[in-house]
């Protein structure tokens, strides 16, 4: 019921001095985006490989230039795919765009090409090297004694799992580039849930519920915004039960004398608008009330 845990939110100060709030991308989203990108790279490489063998079958003197071009292209594709997209698309690759995440500068400044380059150069060490150390250690380090190979594999895997062990979900590349990966912001502006009660509106709802100041002073900002979240889920069948339960609790808490049982949704809308008006006007006077718990003295 509580909107996303504050543990994953980070405030970054813009050069203008206003902090912007971002939500860190989860490990699953990031791994997913990486796997999607990896799939794109592999498919393109495979297409190039097929093209190469086709060319090699019909040998001609000129064909070697084509082979050279394909070799070069597949190297560039593998090494610079991430850098290219993250520079051109400002911190997004096709995989990141599909999953709605993006790279930002951890200090709140612009995302520079240097940062993108540095963070992507480390991919070798954090993914491909651990993979080959685990799968085929003899290829990476020929003639290594077994204990050394195992130790190297352990270390490499620890590097690969680094994002799981720090609060900002940083992988080695993020540390070197000074970057964060966050959810791409895309909040929609929804209707104001208090609008129906405002005097300027042409047609306010006629039979609105009225509340006394004592009744409104039971709750604080936290409860208001929890109520907003419940109301935003709409009047559909799935939400009806929650609406009823919340309305009942509030009525009990504020000792609402029911002359007939009011319809839950509109009762809550009215209560929301009244509570917001009360809390906002008190906030203007410098009395910010965070929640119903009494403020510590």
């Amino acid at each position: 019921m509580i909107p996303s845990g504050a543990r994953r939110e980070r405030d970054l100060l813009t050069p203008e001095g206003v902090p912007l709030r971002f939500t860190l991308a989860g490990a699953g989203d990031r791994l997913g985006a990486f796997l999607i990108d990896l799939t794109f790279v592999s498919i393109s490489s495979a297409v190039l490989g097929v093209a190469m063998t086709t060319v090699l079958i019909g040998r001609d003197a000129f064909d070697h230039l084509v082979v050279a071009a394909i070799l070069l292209a597949s190297f560039l594709l593998r090494s610079f795919y991430f850098m290219w997209f993250e520079i051109r698309w400002q911190g997004q690759t096709p995989g990141k765009r599909l999953l709605g995440i993006r790279v930002i500068d951890a200090a709140g400044g612009p995302l520079t090409p240097q940062a993108v380059i540095a963070r992507n150069l480390l991919r070798d060490v954090e993914f491909f090297l651990p993979l080959s150390l685990v799968v085929a250690p003899q290829m990476v380090w020929p003639g290594a004694p077994a204990w050394a190979a195992e130790l190297a594999a352990l270390w490499a895997v620890a590097l690969a799992l680094l994002p799981l062990f720090n609060a900002d979900r940083l992988r080695p590349g993020d540390l070197v580039g000074g970057t964060l990966v966050v959810l791409a912001p895309r909040a929609l502006l929804l209707d104001d849930l208090g609008a129906h009660m405002v005097a300027e509106r042409a047609m306010p709802r006629p039979s609105a519920h009225a509340f006394t100041d004592e009744q409104l002073d039971v709750y604080g900002i936290y409860e208001l915004q929890t109520l907003e979240a419940v109301l935003r889920r709409g009047t559909g069948e799935a939400n009806r039960e929650a609406l009823g339960a919340v309305a009942e609790r509030i009525q009990r808490k504020i000792s609402w004398e029911a002359s007939g049982k009011p319809e839950a949704y509109w009762f809550l809308r009215d209560f929301y608008a009244a509570l917001r008006a009360r809390l906002e006007s008190r906030m203007l006077l410098g009395k910010r009330r965070e929640s119903k718990a009494p403020a510590p003295r």
Binding site: P3, T14, P15, V18, L20, A61, H64, V67, A68, A69, L71, F75, S79, Q90, I104, G109, L111, T112, P113, Q114, A115, I117, A118, L121, L122, R123, D124, V125, L129, W155, L159, L175, V176, G177, G178, P185, R186, A187, L188, L189, D192, L193, G194, A195, V198, A199, E200, P204, I221, L224, Q225, E228, A273, A274, R276, A277, E280, S281, M283, L284
Partner: protein, 329 residues
Amino acid sequence: MLRLKSYEFRRERERVWRELEDLLARADQRGVSGLSAQELARLPALYQSALSSLSVARAISLDRNVVDYLDGLAARAHFAVYGVRQHLRDSVRRFAAERFPRAVRGLRAHLCLAALFLALGAATAAVQVLDDPERFHAFVADDYAQGRDPSSTTEELRAALEHDAGGAEAQLAAFSSFLFSHNARIGMLSFALGFAAGVPVFLLTFMNGLILGAFAALYGSRGLALQFWGWLLPHGVTEILALLLCAAGGLALAESLVFPGRHTRLRNLALRGREAGVVVVGAVAMFLIAGCIEGVFRQLVHSTPIRYAVALSSAAVWTLYFTRAGRKA
């Protein structure tokens, strides 16, 4: 009836927010450069007003949706305003003319250290192989040697210097392309290994030195030293320099982790990491040049004096470039 401050605030400002939202939607579709000059000029002002709306909303509004929306809107505008908008050609030119040589000058000490380790490796292998040629096998993997080992006759060794592994001249382009991508991957890896506190970078550089020393000693012991260096140096100057640059970048990373200095470890890592990353991208370009020399020039020109001339002039060009380019007058 109620007075909702936040509702009035929203009604006054919403038009501007929507305008910015439209602009950003179009920028997302076509890129910021797809906006008209007029729209582009409007963007910073709209961004500023979104920021100020956000500040006000945080102070007076308890409508969570509005605050979240403004947060997201301001962030998206921030990306559009501060995003990288440099033309590709400009950034390449700036990179080659200023950034790369400057970053390399910043890594002078690390470069020397990497060179020292390469030289140490080469000297170690050379001494060992001169002492007992059979130790060559300890330093060079058999498939890398491609038959050039102590059991080859002097004639075979000489032939290898003149007709390369690639063989037929028609395959030169493919061969040099392969060499380039192989070397560039090794270089990038040796940079990235810097994150593992630098020990693997030293190892990798030292091992490259071992291979170099082993070959040099093998050829030297057969009286082919002159031809060997003539074969190696035309591309080797560029290639070894690029390899050392990557290693130097890795060492800079390691240094910032182990000896963070004035800043915190993380801040320092990000600062040095970005500079060192620039060096590695430059080094990849150098590998490309080296690959072209190795794959094409070396196979076509077999005259030792010309090979030396190319080696010397490439050394001179790189020295001039890294010491002079991009200096402030």
